[in-house]
């Protein structure tokens, strides 16, 4: 006897805990196999690119916090370094080091969040996430100590940073850096051999290296597929060329590999911060830049390695007080280019794991 089956359309989101925001995924199912997947976004669209054309170059910095709100520092850094490149502003050395320290702290915080929610999506409800949050909390305390904010930091300025670090910052950072490697080892002890996590993550959401490059995928996703590409190494910005660190890569390109890459990147970030702490020079923390910066007419594409991937800014200036065009390259959106290919053929329960391992941030997708 043959059974007639009809494809079933299921909406995952926009209100769903595993979508990490207001993201909707419409999957078509045959039994429990996914035969088609489509993403529907725009629930958080604020048209930042249009708003930015009406504000001065400096007034646009807070917008960068509100795109990837889990990695506001790297958003600040990407925008400020793009404007500096366009205007030809020289950044003092101390500011460069502070930027590296804060960008790497932000990477640790963002990866803690990504890995915590990934394990959450795999079924370990809340406990591992709260463990990851413990480390993130200490980093947010460091941010608060320095600039008064915890999430939307608005810390960097065109030409440097807004404030120097307070006296109590370095001892607290030292303590955190001593603690983190042990904590990472603890998580690896708990998680890497965990059978449930391996079964949920291995061979789920596989992304071959060739397709990853073709789909413009960057960051831990690209490295998880085995491509050793990191803009910090390939095209060093700030003072990244002065530090020693490795690029972790995966082999299978599956969800578990992306998780491992993020875990190892935290360790490498600790290495970078330690070196930067040792080399931190005295001096001014911000260049003398007019409040209303006016880059000369021209255009620039500048990119950095954000926790999610290649975060780029394409800025066009006509010499006026506001940007003529302010275009963001959002890694969260572009990393979803191969979503359909990664999901087709897997089961509906794996869709959540695949999406969790991509580490999207809806604030950055929709802008």
């Amino acid at each position: 006897m043959s059974l007639k089956t009809e494809p079933l359309v299921v909406n995952i989101g926009p209100q769903h805990p595993s979508t990490h925001g207001v993201f909707r995924l419409r999957v078509t199912l045959d039994g429990e196999r996914i035969i088609d997947a489509e993403m529907i976004v725009g629930y958080l669209h604020r048209s930042i690119e249009k708003l930015a054309e009406e504000r001065t170059w400096t007034q646009n910095i807070p917008f960068t916090d509100r795109m990837d709100y889990l990695a506001a520092m790297t958003g600040n850094l990407a925008y400020c370094s793009a404007v500096e490149k366009l205007a030809g502003i020289e950044v003092p050395e101390r500011a460069q080091y502070l930027r590296v320290i804060f960008a790497e702290l932000q990477r640790i915080a963002s990866h803690a969040m990504a890995n915590g929610t990934f394990i959450n999506d795999c079924g370990a409800w809340q406990t591992p996430l709260m463990h990851m949050f413990r480390e993130r909390e200490k980093i947010l305390d460091l941010f608060e100590m320095t600039c008064g904010a915890r999430l939307t930091l608005n810390y960097m300025r065109i030409g440097g940073v807004a404030f120097d670090i307070p006296d109590e910052f370095m001892p607290a950072l030292e303590e955190l850096m001593d603690e983190l490697p042990d904590r990472i080892a603890e998580y690896e002890d708990l998680l890497l051999d965990n059978e449930i996590l391996l079964m949920r993550g291995r061979d789920v959401g596989v992304l071959p290296a060739e397709m990853a490059i073709n789909a413009s995928i960057s960051g831990p996703m690209l490295r998880g597929s085995g491509v050793a590409w990191d803009i910090r190494k390939a095209d060093p910005y700030a003072v990244y060329d002065r530090f020693e660190f490795d690029i972790p890569v995966g082999h299978n390109g599956d969800s578990f590999d992306r998780f491992l890459v993020r875990m190892e990147e935290v360790r490498q970030s600790v290495r970078i911060i330690r070196q930067a702490m040792g080399q931190l020079p005295p001096g001014p923390f911000c260049a003398t830049v007019p409040l209303n910066v006016r880059p000369p007419a021209g255009e620039v594409y500048s990119r950095i390695e954000s926790p999610k991937g290649e975060l780029g800014y394409y800025l066009v200036s006509d010499g006026g007080p506001t940007p003529y065009r302010y275009k963001v390259r959002p890694p969260s959106l572009i990393n979803l280019s191969a979503l359909k290919q990664m999901m087709i053929g897997t089961s509906i329960s794996d869709a959540v794991v695949t999406l969790g391992s991509i580490d999207i941030n809806v604030g950055e997708i929709d802008r």
Partner: protein
């Protein structure tokens, strides 16, 4: 120590394109190379497959509204050779601009072209699923166009926020159509 990414000038890229596809290049400058819209797809195929340029990673597509024409800018890079360059296409038509889609070459172009269509209204012919990305079907107009929301007479977008600005000092008049 690592070396920075090499930036290929528009002249270098233009030379390479012209060797295989004469007539495709419209203009070349230090920063970018401009290609004729109708020869975009074959040029991109060449850039993607070329051993020397190896533009297998499409970093970004973005549109720029220049009031009387549109620019579409492609930031291309090679991960293996650690180099990058920029490619531009000009669209003279301002009401219903249309250029060929490159999503058959790069999977990464798929979402980016949809975004540009959504916010700037540039149609990409040959795109498999061209529809709005962020806004809903039927949304009036394209927000990133400079003439979106024509404002009452006398109001200049952006400038009224800066009452002390003298528009003459930076040629601000030219920005308002």
């Amino acid at each position: 120590m690592t070396a920075a990414t090499a930036f290929l000038s528009g002249h270098q890229v233009a030379e390479r394109i012209t060797a295989s596809l004469p007539g495709a290049v419209v203009e070349a400058t230090e920063g970018w190379v401009v290609v004729a819209a109708e020869r975009l797809v074959e040029t991109c195929r060449l850039l993607h497959d070329d051993a020397e340029l190896d533009a297998r990673f499409l970093a970004l597509i973005s549109g720029v509204d220049r009031y009387d024409y549109f620019e579409v800018v492609y930031q291309l890079s090679s991960l293996a050779k650690n180099q990058r360059f920029a490619l531009k296409v000009y669209i003279e038509e301002h009401e219903e601009p249309e250029i060929p889609s490159v999503s058959s070459i790069w999977l990464g172009a798929h979402l980016q072209e949809r975004e540009i269509y959504d916010l700037m209204g540039i149609r990409f012919s040959g795109h498999p699923d061209l529809k709005r990305l962020f806004l809903w079907e039927g949304f009036p107009g394209f927000p990133l166009r400079k003439d979106f929301m024509t404002l009452p007479e006398g109001f200049k977008p952006g400038l009224q926020r800066f009452p002390k600005e003298d528009p003459e000092s930076w040629g601000g008049e030219a920005r308002v159509p």
